[in-house]
Assembly symmetry: D2
Homo-oligomer: 284 residues x 4
């Protein structure tokens, strides 16, 4: 097998796209490994993800030829190597459970990422429970006054490291609109509530006060609209009256870690397509 | 075994309550079958549920004696037969899946209720999928103008039938503040969302528009504060981008039915104690 | 839109199948609505399901042309109307919760089936909790001696009613090997355990005795190998030490009903393809 | 508040135990924080767990007095400090995800344990993904011939370190009957299947071959009867036909980690009582 590729695309719906795209790949000698599509009736838009083995095909020629075809149809599209580890910049504050979880999954080869930088507004010593190892750690404190400067530093690190995805792994700072726009569609946040319930700060305390019987977490793309970005993944767990806010925080850690890891996996496997305020997630 | 009794109580927390209450039952010759307690640290309030076999004890004497003790401690309390079927009035609109579910569970002896009346703002013919049988059916149409009259009729039926619990089984009308207050702590509603997300009308359409990845349902006591009553039970299920609002409505039916049935079961088994805006649910 | 069709197929894997099949549909003027495929690496076999709008295409010509193509590739395939209600024969013993659930889902138009017959080894009066209505009911008692005769009667009813699917909705009789073979790939059973745990009789009692912390149910195709047929769907729920075998039976009813309904839905929507002892389930 | 204590006990059921035990604590000036009980109808045995604040009571006098009372009733009982971290010896082979998870939960103060030793049949370098830090690591290789010797070494380490609980965190070796008996009721294993399905080796491969639609994990006490010990906790997750055995191994890691952590938490909080081949788990 050659290096498998993944093609993702979206365009206005019309008959024949599937046949044309799969026919294109067949004519170029490629072998389809996995294919999913979705027609959104509301927006009348078509979304597709195809993983394929290019076999003898030349990736560059493939890309050039497909670009010509895609242009005619006004497609948004992307052709990427399936198995290349995506370069990820992880941002974290004082709570490091999501960071520890992501790094462990990376270390054992479970999550196909390459952590190129960890950025925290706290010093490395504050992240004492996590095996950071050789991953470059950047301590970038932030105050109201220095926020824009600090964000510029983050962008600089992202650029230097060819960062493809920014993960806010319980990074308890709100990005400026500029920063959110800069990393649009390539910045995932984990919110510690089952959105849209309990937006804003201290969601577990809100949940306790309201007396809900389940708590959850939400992984979503960051947009300029706080806690309103397209949701990638969510999960919940039952709780009881006997759970204090602290118990909820503890139970929440597990949910947050696995929801974020799943969202990152879906993103780096090119399984998430953004459809306005929503997402399409092509699970295998 | 004699007819088992259930004692539920709440009072300001202080040492010795458990010992005193269980000691009281022991001295009266009763045998405890099940006991749960909860100390709410925030309100410093104590909650308890004890199911017991009175054996030789005279229930009336037991009640009288306990009343004297409970008075001294300023207890809220209730002593009830455990296995007596609670008398339930079910209200329903056009969607009858929760009604059908409750009646089936009653018929096979699974849910210890006695349905004394079904009230609907639609005629009996509109509830054509459900095996209503001999349960008295009352068609009480309601308009903005007739609302208070109709509610008075509901109260009259409840009184005549010795209704102990009103279940809003997808009854798509908002109760007036008077009605909500009248049935306080004995009226359960099923809301077709995972509250506090998607309050108000058409929650499945709201959920679809927001692009959440799970939908849910919430059973709660009705209060004058719409969709804000104490929550008894909640559950959710995963959904995907491919689910239309109609798919959500379909998937939601299952969640609504089982969440409402569980809340009703917990209530009629005297397992739910109200603690301000929240509930304590003593599962076995 | 014309009447949508569903094409399902399987064959030895080889490059170009997706392109060829979707190209075939495009050339015949059809519009693909939904498509899924799966390459089983172990058996090197390819499986596909395509729902499409034939638009102007003549279904008969389509079928004839596809047959010629499919023959060349040695395909197993089926072309069916997507929205035609499949004709279902439901078998039931004394416990009717799955029957009641299926009929309710049918009545409200949720489950696209047409119940053509109910067969029970108990008389109609024994199924007293369910709203059977006009669905033909056949009381076919069975003993060890009459089993083969009774099964012949079932086959006769199935033939007369053009039954496409037999559902064993807690039908507590074991089919003979002949009967199982006769209805191969078109007979679904609900087993009240999370197979392969607790095969055979009284699984809830087995589960209680073993002290498991979750119980479940399994919907599978019936084969001559008891409790070993290809699994279509499974689900579980947590239980506790306080649950008696009777509690497990009660909790199990909910799981059984929803697992069976989901399996039937997947089957009648032509979403289940059998792959040896396993199944492929193409959810939307 | 003084140092809270936890009393767990079991004895033949008889009226008055709850009243007597709670009365005993009240008379000694203790304040009950949490209490649970269970009457097992089958064995006619009574189980109880009480957490309490001893206030002014002298723990030693309390223990002495309670021993006298418990003796008369033939009770099995234990009085322990609630918040003292239990001393845990963790055994691991090549897969270290459960170890990493337990150590992280310990480090952030979530799991009230004190890891006194890690024992592995692989060298420390093989456990390269986990932040072991200062926890003593013992490399004790094992072969068929050296098994009994190696087990004696484990017992020696357990003795020297005052180990209270042995956790087999994916320790892929079967303990000898002697070893299992030695650590009876204080050795928890995580089995990577939803027992009793898929006992023995390579359960994920068994699950794939059988075509189940969910996989799970089981935490249980180790007994001389392999994979048959009393189950403490179980959980599952849905899988699909598209999951290879390797995918199952990956998804299984998450389930194993959280199931084992929950079982360890329940054990060290003295919430698990063994009842023959089953357990009673008193969740809060």
């Amino acid at each position: 097998m050659s290096d498998p590729l993944v093609l993702t695309l979206s365009c206005a719906d019309r008959p024949g796209i599937t046949a044309n795209v799969t026919g294109f790949l067949f004519e170029h000698g490629c072998n389809i490994l996995e294919a999913r599509q979705f027609n959104d009736r509301e927006s009348d838009r078509f979304f597709m993800r195809i993983a394929f083995d290019p076999l003898e095909a030349d990736p560059d020629a493939l890309k050039r030829d497909f670009a010509a075809y895609a242009d005619r149809l006004g497609m948004d599209w992307k052709l990427a190597k399936r198995d290349r580890r995506r370069r990820v910049l992880i941002m974290v504050s004082r709570f490091d459970h999501c960071l520890a979880d992501l790094l462990y999954r990376w270390r054992i080869g479970e999550l196909p990422i390459e952590p190129v930088a960890i950025v925290s507004n706290h010093p490395r010593e504050a992240i004492s429970h996590t095996h950071i190892g050789e991953v470059p750690f950047h301590h970038l404190p932030v105050t109201h006054e220095t926020k824009l400067d600090q964000e510029a530093q983050v962008r600089a690190i992202a650029e230097e490291t060819d960062t493809e995805l920014v993960v806010l792994a319980r990074y308890m700072q709100i990005l400026s609109d500029e920063q959110a726009a800069h990393f649009a569609a390539r910045c995932i946040n984990i919110h510690h509530s089952f959105l849209p319930g309990f937006k804003g700060a201290k969601p577990y305390h809100q949940a306790h006060a309201r007396g809900v019987k389940m708590i959850g977490a939400t992984a979503h793309y960051v947009t300029t609209d706080l806690d309103e970005g397209p949701i990638i993944h969510q999960d919940v767990e039952p709780i009881s009256h006997a759970d204090s806010p602290e118990d909820l925080v503890r139970k929440g850690r597990d949910i947050e870690s696995r929801v974020l890891a799943e969202a990152v996996r879906m993103h780096v496997e090119e399984r998430v397509l953004i459809n306005g305020q929503r997402t399409i997630v092509f699970r295998s």
